[in-house]
């Protein structure tokens, strides 16, 4: 890390950049793209990335500083929520495991949002047990032919590229026979179908791969090393889910508390105590997050991080369930079952019954609560793992 990249230095560079390049007008899409590309080239995209790849090799903590300065100047951003998979998962994996050619090719359009990424990991038979992926990639001349089915792929219908985990060797135990690829989502044989979830929306897709040809230059990391490469992706996924600081009553508990305050006619003594129990839990979860961020900022990461997603999922489910309960008659009614394909989940823009339904997914997506409890028990508390029968058998000999 380059320790000459200080707060002042970042400010200086941003100011210099803005002085030399006027902020494009709202709606000027070409101008916006040109601006973002230039910002990338100036090393102000992600300051902790290497020089030449959008960064200054500086400390990660300075990035929010740069973002704030650009925002204050009215500059366009790269809509980070919309391109979260690229930024949060693909980019760090490409940076760590990619070749210089891959860095050059993928990182800039990823960051500017010109090219959207999706994640082709989960399969119908490989959920919690991701190492069970059955999608096969076989050598085909100087490239690969990929066939299989992926699922829970958000943004697949908009994506230019996908990060893909596929099996390249069925004769070795399952963790050792996978390879990591960048999948060309425009290649023949890639079929994306919306996957409607219980809310009626389709945030996700199923992706069917039929003899999709990928050149070897799309392989990320060594053949057979896919599991190790995927760890980089997954570690960054968990970091991404942590979320930022919220004020008291900042989350779903605030919606519930507002309904309570505004509707005295809905209150009962039993619901009151329930509300207070959840208010206490929500505040405890929030303060746990505050404490965790203080520890991280001081360079003392605590194991509490593993608990954040677990607590958040449980809390969101309990809060939205109580909200429906509180509403009584209104809780029997829903806002809409219309099919839609939202880019991001909107917990607050819709009604309590929507929140209740959508929150059921919080304990399934991105690591089920059951798996998170296993992780806490084994990695934090040091309890022994379950007996495993699938670690030494060749993939092809595993019971199915």
């Amino acid at each position: 890390m380059d320790d000459t990249v200080t707060d002042g230095e970042v400010r200086r560079r941003v100011e210099e950049f803005l002085a030399g390049r006027p902020v494009p007008a709202p709606g000027d899409e070409d101008g916006r793209l040109a601006f973002l590309r230039a910002r990338f080239d100036a090393g102000l995209a992600w300051v902790h990335y290497p020089v030449g790849l959008g960064g200054l090799a500086g400390p990660r903590e300075l990035q929010p500083r740069a973002d704030a300065l650009f925002a204050a100047a009215g500059a366009p951003d790269n809509t980070p929520r919309r391109i979260g998979i690229g930024l949060g998962m693909a980019a760090p994996t490409i940076l760590r495991h990619g070749t210089p050619e891959q860095h050059e090719r993928f990182l800039r359009p990823l960051w500017t949002g010109e090219q959207i990424w999706c994640q082709l990991f989960s399969e119908p038979g490989a959920g919690s047990d991701l190492a069970a992926v059955a999608t096969r990639a076989v050598r085909d001349g100087d490239g690969w032919l990929v066939s299989g089915q992926k699922v829970w792929t958000s943004m697949a219908h908009r994506a230019r590229w996908g990060i893909l985990l596929a099996r390249t060797d069925a004769d070795v135990p399952k963790h050792r026979g996978m390879t990591y690829f960048v999948c060309d989502m425009h290649a023949p044989g890639v079929e994306v179908r919306p996957l409607r979830q219980l809310t009626g929306e389709a945030e996700f897709n199923e992706v069917f791969l039929t003899d999709v040809r990928l050149g070897d230059e799309l392989r990320l990391g060594e053949v057979g090393q896919g599991w190790a490469v995927a760890q980089t992706t997954l570690m960054n996924e968990r970091v991404a889910i942590g979320g930022g600081p919220v004020p008291r009553e900042g989350g779903l508990v605030g919606l519930l508390a507002r309904t309570w305050r505004e509707h005295p006619e809905l209150r009962t003594p039993a619901l009151h105590d329930e509300l207070l129990r959840l208010w206490v839990r929500a505040e405890a979860v929030r303060l746990t997050g505050v404490r965790l961020r203080q520890q991280l900022a001081a360079g003392e990461p605590g194991p509490e991080g593993s608990a954040v997603k677990l607590s958040f999922a449980t809390l969101a489910q309990q809060l939205s369930s109580l909200e429906v309960e509180l509403l009584g008659e209104a809780g029997l009614r829903h806002d809409s079952w219309e099919f839609s394909r939202p880019d991001v989940v909107d917990f607050t823009g819709r009604g309590a019954t929507y929140r209740y339904l959508r929150a059921r997914g919080n304990s399934i997506e991105g690591g089920t609560s059951e798996i998170l409890r296993n992780i806490i028990a084994e990695r934090v508390l040091g309890l022994p793992a379950e007996p495993r029968v699938d670690l030494d058998l060749a993939w092809k000999d595993l019971p199915r």
Binding site: S122, P124, G127, S128, D129, A132, V151, W152, L195, R196, Q197, L198, G200, T268, P269, A270, L271, Q317, S321, V324, E325, L327, G328, E329, G331, L332, R333, H334, D335, S336, W337, T353, Y356, L357, R360, G361, S363, I364, E365, T368, S369, E370, R373, E386, R388, V389, D390, L391, L393, L398, P399, R400
Partner: protein
């Protein structure tokens, strides 16, 4: 305790015939397909149940063309309808409406309506589906002579109804009136409902002619009978929901493998399902007790109904939530029937009072006063 809480032989036969019919005509795929329709559910299934099996008049006296059975038999049918998440107005018609009409069966109009129900007519009690027993009759519809006007929101089983039983205020007292659902001045607006298999509607009556069924205390008694019996019977439907959810989950987990092992062999999963099963066994006992009390007109019936709701409402919700969770991703999809049961369970837990109100009602009934 002399009430029999077991299923009798007749009930088991009834169950078998209902289950067979539902297997043929109300499989999960059919229920899912039905979600794409808006408004009243397809009346075909109702006709099969009501006419072919004669279930609409299950609790209507034989003298009026019914089967002369009681709440225990209704409850078994509802368990099966709950298992199938069947989109039929059975609870409203054969349960609530018949209970209300039976209390005033000496009135010719009421007897005639009971006979029509036995013939397959759909009759709905026009109150918000969230109305709790014991909450008193606060009608939003006004009666002027025998002409009704006013709104009722969130009415269940009314979208496809032939007749509506409308509580209405007339001066200082209230009455219960029968209204032809097809009459001019009756407007039914379909509500986007959380439970699409029991779609609600908002009702607006404008100068609608009606036939009085009961007035004053009799009317209040009729509505209360409907709500108490309805709450008792809903518990059996919820039991059916919970049973389907547990069965489907167990079946899935006996074959689904992760990490080289059948998921159902993991102890945390097993213990959660064992606890759920224990709660379900308790749910069966309280639902049976509520049905038996209703059937026997036992003085403990209000306690039994409140107890059954207090237990079975959260039971069905918990079972459906576990069903979604333990199916993993597939349980979160529209194409899997788990969500149909989740929505029905969550919705039913607000219907006819909800567990919290029923606990509060128990407090009055068994002398455990609040502070």
């Amino acid at each position: 305790m002399s009430l029999d809480l077991r299923y009798g032989e007749v009930e088991e036969q009834l169950r078998a015939s209902v289950r067979a019919l539902l297997a043929d005509h109300c499989a999960p795929a059919a229920v899912l397909a039905g979600l794409e329709r808006s408004g009243a559910p397809d009346p075909r299934l109702w006709r099969l149940l009501a006419a072919d099996l004669g279930l609409s008049g299950l609790a209507v006296p034989e003298s009026l063309g019914g089967a002369g059975a009681g709440a225990c038999e209704l409850a078994v049918v509802l368990e099966e309808l709950g298992r199938a998440a069947a989109p039929v107005p059975f609870l409203g018609t054969a349960g609530l409406a018949v209970a209300a009409l039976t209390t005033c069966a000496e009135v010719p109009e009421a007897a005639e309506l009971l006979a029509r129900i036995a013939g397959g007519a759909v009759v709905a009690l026009a109150v918000p589906f969230s109305t709790a027993p014991g909450s008193g009759l606060t009608a939003t519809v006004a009666a002027t002579g025998n002409v009704l006007a006013g709104p009722v929101t969130s009415v269940a089983d009314a979208l496809g109804a032939d007749v509506l039983l409308v509580p209405a205020a007339t001066g200082l007292q209230s009455g219960l009136y029968a209204v032809d659902a097809a009459a001019a001045g009756v407007r039914r607006t379909a509500v986007v409902s959380l439970d699409q298999t029991r779609p609600l509607c908002d009702l607006t009556l404008s100068a609608v002619p009606a036939r009085p069924l009961a007035l004053g205390a009799t009317a209040a008694r009729a509505v209360e009978a409907a709500l108490v019996t309805g709450a008792a019977l809903l518990a059996s439907e919820q039991l059916g929901t919970a049973q389907w959810c547990l069965d489907a989950t167990v079946e899935h987990l006996r074959t689904r493998r992760q990490f080289g092992r059948v998921v159902g062999s993991y102890q945390a999963i097993k213990h959660r399902l064992a606890d759920l099963w224990v709660e379900l066994a308790q749910g069966r006992a309280v639902a049976r007790y509520a049905a038996a009390c209703a059937a026997a007109n036992d003085p403990d019936a209000p306690v039994a109904a409140a107890l059954a709701q207090a237990h079975c409402s959260p039971l069905a919700v918990r079972a459906a939530e576990e069903c979604v969770q333990l199916h993993g991703g597939i349980g979160f999809t529209w194409e899997h029937p788990a969500h149909v049961h989740l929505k029905r369970a969550r919705s039913a837990a607000l219907a006819l009072g909800g567990a919290g109100r029923h606990r509060a009602r128990l407090a009055e009934l068994v002398d455990l006063p609040p502070s």
